[in-house]
Symmetry: C2
Subunit: 226 residues, 2 copies
DNA sequence: TCTGTTTCTGACCATATGGTCAAGACTATG
DNA sequence: CATAGTCTTGACCATATGGTCAGAAACAGA
């Protein structure tokens, strides 16, 4: 009977897409991928791409190396995934910029968001820095498309603020570079900062002071009242 | 005759320290060391410590690998020398700070000097950044001694300026971090900046604009008239 | 229980790498 | 020319690494 046949087919297709049966497997895969990605981010940040070994990543993830290769066939594909994830976090932080009325809110919130990322995602920031420092061999296309677009859009926004007389006439690109570098410095050079802080990690209060200092100098520097 | 003997000895000792005979050999050694160090700086900057290979360094230097090992017995000793050299350049730039009457001159000149280093020694800056990002495994002792001392001395100087009413009361350490990160960003993230500049390197004028922007925002940000 | 699919893993391999070494080449001096 | 010291280099080695694979286990569905 063609009916039965098509029903079976339909049910089978349904089953495949349903959440009932494959849910655990799906989760298992997702779970392990996340574990591996976290381990990889840490190891890549600490050792660099060349210094990182699949064996070490596997050890940190608590899995046999062959199992890591089951989920990520090559070291480069794993690395690409790590960098890509960081890039997403990076861009999301930029939303602070978007819904702001003026530079005080917009740039202030952006600095806060980026400082928070440096604090909570230092490994990711380091991997990103490493990738760019080595000429962005993996994510060059992202730089040329997404980052260029995003930057141009912010440049426009900043120029609008300038023309509206809400801030000094500064070169928007160099302002962005300053914000990026200063905020990311607290992640990328965290070890140096810690050494200069009597080898102690920054406390909650010190992080607040850092945020306040950065905002104070930059906002005043571009002629925005705080 | 003891006289003859001692004369011979004296002459021999003189010869050893003289510039006549060993000068070419001394130069040969020095020359090759410099060639290798330059090649190593470039390769370490581009590939990271783990990614760099002695073979590649040798190729860039135009020497057989075994010859590189003749001058630098291990990869790590070569790397240590590279990082150490950069550290020296780094510290020398700080002299601008020293002989300044006030923050406008001192910090302005320091920013200029650091921007110039980013422009002329981008590879060195990258190697340094990489080293610190990975926890400064090689030059931790320098950080703990020389850098700490240098930083403390500048902090004192800045605080004196603040107390003299020459600039706003800002946290000197965070100000230093901002100067470091912003200036070094033009070296470490040069590739990203170039991509955002229509994939063209910064022109002379653009470098001047960058310097001016950085100085403008920071100096105004700390309440110093330009 | 049987069957098909996904997940897991120890053992293995080809290759690349840091480093060694012994023999030769070059240079200066007596 | 002979001797001593420095420099050069091809060949070599032990090890580590990214990646493979065959088969075992676990699991889901009938």
């Amino acid at each position: 009977m063609p009916v039965d046949h098509s029903v079976k087919k339909f049910l089978k297709a349904l089953r495949m897409k349903s959440n009932a049966a494959p849910i655990r497997k799906q989760n298992k895969r997702r779970e392990n991928e996340v574990i591996i990605l976290k381990a990889a981010e840490k190891v890549f940040a600490e050792e660099g791409f060349g210094g990182a070994t699949m064996q070490l990543i596997a050890d940190v993830a608590g899995l046999p190396k062959a199992n890591v290769h089951y989920y990520f066939s090559t070291k480069e594909s794993l690395y690409r995934q790590v960098v890509s994830n960081i890039f997403d976090v990076w861009l999301q932080a930029a939303d602070s910029f978007e819904e702001a009325a003026g530079p005080a809110d917009g740039i202030g919130a952006y600095i806060d968001a980026k400082m928070e990322i440096s604090r909570t995602h230092p490994a990711g920031s380091k991997v990103w820095a490493s990738e760019v420092m080595h000429g962005a061999p993996i994510i060059q296309d992202y730089l040329e498309t997404t980052l260029v677009e995003w930057t141009n859009s912010r440049v426009t926004a900043i120029n609008a603020w300038i023309e509206a007389g809400l801030m000094d006439p500064v070169n928007p690109r160099h302002l962005l570079y300053m914000i990026w570098s200063t905020t990311q410095h607290y992640a990328d050079f965290g070890h140096q900062i810690q050494t200069l802080n009597n080898s102690a990690p920054l406390t909650e209060d010190q992080w607040d002071a850092a945020k306040a200092s950065v905002k104070q100098i930059i906002l005043k520097g571009i002629g925005v009242a705080i």
